[in-house]
């Protein structure tokens, strides 16, 4: 059915105009609230927010502002939350700058006004957390005690739940035991490397703890030399030694030959007979034990006991 489009212009224009007016009024209200609000002092804030009052004086920010003086010492809570007179009068959270449910840029500008010059934050804006609207207050507790440091790994697990699942698998780095923290390997504030690693490559990061794997070795295993994650997963695995899949399956995904290792290792004949060691104990690694590299000699006429095949 033909409709005269001109009949819809007037209501549409009215609706658009109304929305624009409302939007402008809303913005004006906020601006007016902040623009006309004045500082009221910490005592006014803490008279209602008694929970924060209990820990505020112990916080590092309170200590730092006390020593820094000037605007920070004078304005206290309002150094971050903005002038509070409108909020004190209305009790409306919209009349004060808060740090929950807001756009990240608003959340972080107050923090960055002091901390932007920190070398740790040089790459914040290009990092994955900034791109995903993670605010400073998402991880750091500002009001609690004197330790705004992030509680790892619980804070990280609140978003990275697949990593939480991995960290609780039977083979895992001691993350949940608090012996390795997320920030030991990753820089949450951004880095030049993939996954915000604190090293130039995955292998360099692994070698910082596992220096015995650094080599250099006479006989090298190429996937080992390029990327530890070719065979291992870093947070946790169902398989031994953080391997991505079970040996011999993992090895056979790359190695084939006549007979050994070409024989398909499955349950039909690999728990007994001449192939009886294929699934027992460490499988391929029973013999090929120096799989990360070896400096042992190699007889060109025999492969049973040399370093070239990672047997010694």
């Amino acid at each position: 059915m033909y409709r005269n489009r001109s009949n819809y212009r007037a209501p549409g224009l009215l609706l658009t105009t109304s929305l624009a007016v409302l939007l402008l009024l809303g913005l004006a209200t906020v601006a007016a609230a902040e623009g006309s609000a004045t500082f009221v002092g910490d005592e006014t804030c803490l008279s209602c927010h008694d929970q924060q009052a209990e820990t505020y004086d112990k916080s590092l920010h309170a200590q730092a502002w006390s020593s820094k003086g000037g605007q920070f010492k004078q304005n206290g809570c309002e150094s971050c939350h903005g002038p509070g007179s409108a909020h004190a009068e209305s009790n409306d959270p919209e009349d004060i700058r808060s740090y929950s449910g807001k756009a990240m840029a608003d959340d972080n500008s107050a923090c960055l006004s002091c901390h932007q010059s920190s070398p740790e934050l040089a790459l914040w804006k290009s990092g994955a957390h900034a791109e995903n609207d993670v605010s400073c207050a998402s991880c750091h507790t500002i009001h609690e005690d004197d330790k705004p440091a992030v509680k790892e790994p619980e804070t990280c697990f609140s978003c990275h739940r697949d990593i939480k699942f991995d960290s609780n698998k039977r083979s895992h780095h001691p993350i949940i035991e608090d012996k390795v923290s997320c920030s030991d390997c990753h820089n949450p504030h951004g880095s030049f490397s993939e996954s915000q690693l604190r090293a130039d490559s995955t292998n360099e990061l692994c070698y910082s703890c596992h220096a015995e794997k650094r080599g250099p070795f006479l006989w090298e295993h190429p996937p080992v030399e390029e990327n530890c994650l070719t065979c291992h997963t870093s947070h946790g695995s169902r398989h031994n030694n953080l391997l991505t899949s079970r040996v011999p399956n993992l090895c056979q995904d790359c190695h084939d030959w006549s007979r050994h290792p070409g024989s398909a290792y499955d349950a039909t004949n690999n728990f007994s007979g001449s192939g009886g060691n294929r699934f027992i104990a460490r499988s391929c690694l029973n013999c090929h034990t120096t799989i990360h590299g070896s400096n042992a000699p190699q007889n060109p006429d025999s492969g049973y006991n040399g370093g070239h095949y990672f047997v010694r």
């Binding site: 804006k125 290009s126 608090d178 012996k179 006479l218 790359c254 499955d266 013999c287 006991n305 010694r312």
Partner: protein, 582 residues
């Protein structure tokens, strides 16, 4: 307790008297009784789970311009940790730390060997009156008289960090640490020679030896950093030196499958090495369009020196085995690996709703280690080492656009090119695309959807080496093989009330190795994760999580007899494609 007192004594010496106000903190002490049935090493693994007293101490003190914290966990046990940190706001801060971590593998293992934890393993002789005269000494077959030990390693790490800036944009950081690892871990090796408990030869495949490898490592690391950091500029110069030492460079073990002579095999253990790194980093902030430009350049070197063994047991010769002397082009292997990295990133915010990132990254690993050639002095056959090296270029862009205050759309593209010194694939190229939508229209929920697609292609340059080695023409190894990867992730965060948070996530990943003939052909992964947090007036916090993962891998393999045609399509002299498994 000694360490706590020592820390406090140190603090009292360096901190002027009367600097701090009253000390506050907490002291927890408890008693623990443990009863574990089953494999208790798995239950403990990284912790000291034993009967006894345990506790934590946390002390803090601060003044108007200084602070001092002492934290100690589980003092007196072998998973204890201490940290003494302090500083002056805006001037300097420091930390002393000490941490012990056990890693238990298994308890109550048995071995015929004595000398556990040393570089020489030998087994004790049995009553020779019961053994044939030709077999001296014989291997004790009664395991009840074997030696018992635990597989496990204890790691101790201690050191100090200090950071000065004295209220200026200039800063200096120094970090010194030492890590010690001691214990035994599992080492397995085949016999290497043909031997048996009676006459005749057995294949070495059935003759394995498991033994305790000694672990006595020390890693020392020094890092220095200095720079200038202001709201607009950052320039930083840093360096690091790390040395690794292994007290045991070889492990000698008596071969129990050879009873006609004392045959001591040798495994070569991890070599000592040194690592050096120098880096320069700079960032310029507050550029037009709220941009930040960051650049990093660094160079690193890893070195080792290993005297090479030139003798090896002959693999045949029963009942008497001899050492074979090998020809060597040089008697020492000098490891020398150099890495270079350069990276540049430009992140901008041209408008309030738009942010972008452009980046380029270059990484090069150059292997200048010794080229070693072993020569058989009888057949003149040779075997030589291959020095692996590679270079990697990555370039990409990310774009984030806020459609509405509650909807954010992100997308990006990355190109990765790797050139390698490798016989199968000497180069690969990845094209990666991603898109993500985040919605927070509802006050009580946030939704996120991410899709990612990657296409990898490579240059397969494997040469036909003839004979059994021809199978390599049909083998594509999954770490470099052509593949198409599809990933999807869907997540929802629910906040039905101030006291409850619920998170749900589903992830999917599919790797299709579409050009692979032999090797992994498919890898499909599904994961579903859920967690819930309940807070009761901030005094009680209950949380729970659950997850389910399913992994399905398919691969092709070829089993054939030596001398047959390795071509997977061959119908004679062997089996065709077989071994498909999930």
């Amino acid at each position: 307790m000694k360490k706590i007192c020592g820390s406090m004594l140190f603090a009292s010496l360096v901190i002027p008297a009367g600097t701090f106000a009253a000390i506050s903190g907490s002291n927890e002490i408890g008693l623990r009784g443990v009863s574990v049935s089953g494999d208790s090493s798995s239950f403990a693994e990284y912790r000291n789970i034993e009967d006894g007293v345990f506790g934590t101490i946390s002390l803090s003190s601060s003044s108007s311009d200084q602070y001092l914290d002492l934290d100690a966990d589980y003092s007196g046990s072998n998973d204890e940790s201490f940290s003494l940190s302090g500083g002056k706001y805006g001037r300097y801060k420091y930390e002393l730390f000490y941490d012990v971590m056990p890693h238990y593998y298994s308890y109550g293992n048995r071995t015929i060997y004595s000398g556990i934890g040393t570089d020489t393993l030998t087994y004790f002789a049995v009553d020779q009156s019961t053994a044939p005269a030709s077999y001296t000494p014989n291997v004790p077959t009664d395991s009840s008289i074997w030696n018992t030990f635990d597989y496990g390693i204890e790691r101790t790490k201690y050191g100090a960090n200090i950071n000065f800036n004295f209220g200026t944009p200039f800063y200096v950081k120094a970090s010194l640490s030492k890590e010690e690892r001691s214990g035994v871990k599992l080492l397995a090796a085949p016999s290497g020679v043909h031997g048996s408990f009676s006459s005749g030869n057995f294949s070495a495949f059935g003759q394995l030896v498991e033994m305790p490898e000694p672990v006595d490592y020390e890693t020392r690391t020094l890092q220095l950093m200095t720079g200038y950091s202001s709201p607009k500029y950052l320039v930083e110069l840093s360096g690091a030196i790390s040395g690794f030492e292994n007290e045991n460079n070889t492990l000698s073990w008596r071969n129990p499958y050879v009873t006609t002579q004392e045959l001591n095999e040798v495994n070569v253990l991890a070599p000592d090495n040194d690592y050096y790194k120098l880096a320069v980093k700079t960032a310029i902030r507050e550029l037009p369009f709220k941009s930040t430009l960051a650049v990093k350049l660094n160079s690193a070197k890893t070195e080792s020196e290993v005297p090479l063994l030139n003798t090896i047991w002959s693999s045949t010769g029963a009942p008497t085995y001899t050492y074979t002397t090998l020809g060597l082009n040089q008697d020492e292997f000098k490891g020398d690996v150099n890495t270079t990295k350069g990276a540049i990133t430009l992140s901008s915010r041209p408008t309030k709703n738009l942010s972008t990132k452009f980046y380029y990254d270059y990484y090069d690993k150059d292997n200048d280690s010794s080229h070693i050639v072993y020569t058989s002095l009888t057949s003149l056959n040779t075997v030589e080492n291959h020095l692996y090296e590679y270079s990697k270029h990555s370039a990409g862009m990310d774009v984030n656009y806020r459609l509405t205050p509650q909807n954010k759309l992100s997308g990006g593209y990355e190109y990765v090119s790797v050139d390698r010194e490798r016989e199968d694939f000497d180069s690969t190229r990845d094209h990666k695309l991603f898109a993500q939508l985040k919605n927070s229209s509802l006050d009580w929920a946030t939704f996120k959807l991410k899709l990612q697609y990657m296409d990898r292609s490579g240059d397969f340059v494997q040469a036909d080496e003839g004979g059994d080695a021809s199978i390599l023409l049909y083998q594509q190894r999954y770490d470099v093989a052509d593949k198409v990867q599809t990933m999807a992730k869907v997540g929802v965060e629910l906040y039905p009330s101030d006291a409850i948070d619920v998170g749900l996530e589903y992830s999917f990943k599919y790797n299709d190795y579409d050009e692979t003939v032999l090797g992994m052909t498919e890898d499909i992964r599904h994961g579903v994760y859920a967690d819930v947090v309940y807070r009761l007036r901030d005094a009680v916090r209950l949380s729970g999580y659950a997850g389910y993962e399913m992994v399905n891998q398919d691969s092709n393999h070829r089993q054939y007899n030596p001398g047959d045609d390795p071509n997977p399509a061959a119908g004679t002299g062997g089996q065709p494609l077989t071994g498909l498994r999930s």
